[in-house]
């Protein structure tokens, strides 16, 4: 499997405080990589360094072996797209007009999207079963629909790497599954590498292929899900004792130990749901 994105010895400081320290990993094509970590563990900062929204102090980001410092912002945007956290726009743009903004990296300075760009935007919405949103006001659709719209914009951007910043924030249970299923499906069908920061380790266990665990600006562990998603590592990541439930013997769900047992001092719980 080809390496699409490589991060080497990345270091980022903010106001002389180390935020990210010695971060190195590789992302392969067609793989879904989830980044897990506690609030404030610099997951978003890492994503922003990957597409040069922020400039790291040291280290290299390579896309297909090419250092992104040698690329301008437009070229980077042709290779890496970003789905930001759910937000409201100031102006009430139509969904189709938000999605077509994904074509910006391919347009000249004074060029505006033409019919073919709008066709690509419509196809992206169709791919995510969200074509019914096209004419709606972006600010008046639900949080889940907004995320779908931003995901469609990233698809329209036709980049080989897609970064998703906490895409399941503010989404209900059903929408979280719907969105992550759509992402996983994109990852496979278009051979896109996806890097997503997630809050829920169980969602990561269900949908991700690879995991990067970030703690205090450094990497605690990384690798395929079945190797990294252990009770010890996930407990250490969140600084809280976690119990786990196995489903059909292999899928694991994590819960705080106290929730599973009702007792603070019990650590071991291995119930099995058949």
């Amino acid at each position: 499997m080809a390496v699409t994105l490589e991060c080497r010895d990345l270091k980022f400081t903010y106001q002389n405080l180390p935020v990210l320290d010695d971060i190195s990993f590789k992302i392969h094509s067609g793989r879904f990589c989830a980044i897990l970590g506690r609030n404030g563990s610099s997951k978003t900062t890492l994503l922003h360094c990957l597409n040069r929204i922020l400039s790291p102090d040291t280290g290299k980001i390579l896309v297909h072996g090419q250092d992104i410092r040698a690329m301008d912002q437009k070229k980077i945007a042709q290779q890496i797209s970003l789905v930001p956290q759910e937000h409201l726009d100031i102006f009430p743009y139509r969904v189709l007009d938000v999605v077509v903004m994904g074509r910006a990296p391919y347009l000249r300075l004074v060029q505006r999207p033409d019919r073919s760009d709008y066709e690509l935007a419509k196809k992206a919405l169709c791919l995510l079963n969200a074509e019914y949103l096209a004419q709606k006001n972006f600010n008046r659709i639900s949080g889940g629909e907004r995320q779908m719209c931003l995901l469609a914009r990233a698809v329209t951007q036709e980049a080989c790497i897609m970064l998703l910043d906490e895409p399941t924030n503010h989404l209900d249970f059903n929408n979280q599954y719907h969105l992550l299923t759509a992402m996983k499906s994109l990852c496979r069908s278009k051979n896109i590498s996806i890097v997503a920061t997630l809050h829920d380790p169980n969602m990561a266990a269900l949908f991700a292929d690879d995991l990067i665990l970030i703690k205090k600006g450094g990497i605690l562990a990384q690798g395929p899900v079945n190797e990294v998603m252990t009770q010890t590592l996930v407990s250490a990541l969140y600084d809280t004792p976690l119990g786990q439930i196995s489903i059909h013997g292999h899928k694991k769900l994590f819960f705080p130990q106290t929730v599973l047992t009702g007792q603070k001092d019990r650590i071991e719980t291995k119930d099995t749901i058949k």
């Binding site: 945007a77 930001p84 726009d89 102006f91 743009y93 007009d97 903004m101 505006r112 709008y118 006001n137």
Partner: protein, 345 residues
């Protein structure tokens, strides 16, 4: 069925309708005034100008009023109205804030102070007034943005509040200037700038103003799609391949220059930069490539109408800034009610 084309038939129809309306308002405006020019005389004046023939004797006074007072004044109203309205639209997109305008961010106050300083300084020059106006206008917007950045929370409201601080500062400087200026010559000139008026417009002013305004309008229309992206904020703009800092600087300088040249020529005309973009959005939607041409036309129609009212309502001319403020405030109130729940209210 999803509609595809970026510019719909309705937008083109609206542009055509507004252009026609502007032409009608222009014809009405050049006819109206203390010397009323009837339709037939208007036609004769224009036809004789095109053919190069002299006008009959009874039309000579009307010729003077028409070609040397009314036409340059109406053309200037169109240029200033369009320029101020577009600058407001660009500011609102750049700062992601529908409540900002060149007035609110202190730009107009900075420009007015600069123009007044240019008037008071010993080197009496039309260009010095323009340069000072532009310099202080740019300084004002930079101060507002810098102050908002230092405070750094609740960006939308803080920028408006920072603008009010800068506005008060430049108003205070203007008061100092007024206090120390010569009450017989300099003070009336400064008051003219503060209240805004098109009464002293000449063809020379129009010829200086026109190229900058037209280039600005073309530039902003051409960059309309980029403005949409910039209005999403820096993170999204960068992720979509745009360098927000470069674009923002370019567009702030260009739009501040348009405001400065308007203020240096006609004084401070309030409200246009705030309400006209909202009216245009209500008609054409928020996409800048569609709303900017409509903003320009609406701004031109609004100021031309306000100026016509200002000089025909009574025997003594009323400063046009009073008319724009009197009409602008209730229109903005109405637009706020109409747009509630659309994202920014």
């Amino acid at each position: 069925m999803v509609k595809g084309p970026p510019i719909s038939f309705n937008t083109k129809g609206t542009l055509l309708a507004l252009t026609l309306l502007l032409a009608i308002v222009f014809l009405a405006s050049v006819s109206m005034g203390r010397v009323f020019i009837h339709g037939a005389d208007l036609f004769t004046l224009v036809a004789n100008f095109i053919s190069g023939n002299g006008n009959p004797r009874d039309l000579l006074s009307q010729e003077l009023v028409f070609w040397w007072i009314r036409v340059p004044r109406c053309v200037m109203a169109i240029l200033v109205g369009a320029g101020l309205a577009i600058s407001g639209a660009v500011y609102q997109a750049l700062f992601r804030n529908p409540l900002v305008s060149p007035d609110i961010l202190g730009v107009s106050a900075g420009c007015t102070f600069g123009a007044a300083l240019g008037l008071v300084l010993p080197f009496d020059s039309f260009y010095l007034v323009h340069v000072m106006s532009f310099g202080f206008g740019l300084a004002a917007v930079s101060m507002s943005v810098a102050l908002a950045r230092v405070i750094g929370v609740k960006a939308v409201m803080i920028l408006v509040l920072a603008g009010m601080v800068v506005l008060s500062f430049f108003n205070a400087l203007l008061m100092i200037l007024k206090y120390f200026s010569d009450p017989y010559e300099q003070l009336p000139s400064i008051i003219f700038w503060v209240m805004g008026s098109l009464s002293r417009v000449t063809w020379e002013n129009v010829l200086v103003m026109a190229p900058f305004t037209l280039v600005g309008i073309v530039l902003f229309i051409a960059l309309g799609f980029r403005l949409n992206i910039l209005s999403l904020g820096d993170i999204q703009a960068k992720s979509l391949g745009l360098s927000p800092v470069v674009f923002r600087r370019l567009l702030i300088v260009a739009s501040s220059f348009m405001v400065a040249i308007s203020v240096a020529t006609c004084g401070q005309i309030a409200w246009i930069g705030l309400i006209i973009p909202h009216m245009a959005r209500a008609i054409a939607g928020p996409e800048h490539e569609r709303m900017i041409p409509i903003t320009a036309l609406l701004g031109a129609i609004f100021l031309l109408t306000a100026d016509t009212i200002a000089r025909t309502l009574s025997t003594a001319e009323i400063p046009v800034g009073i008319i724009t403020a009197l009409t602008g405030a209730p229109i903005f109130g109405y637009l706020m009610i109409k747009n509630r729940g659309s994202g920014w209210l």
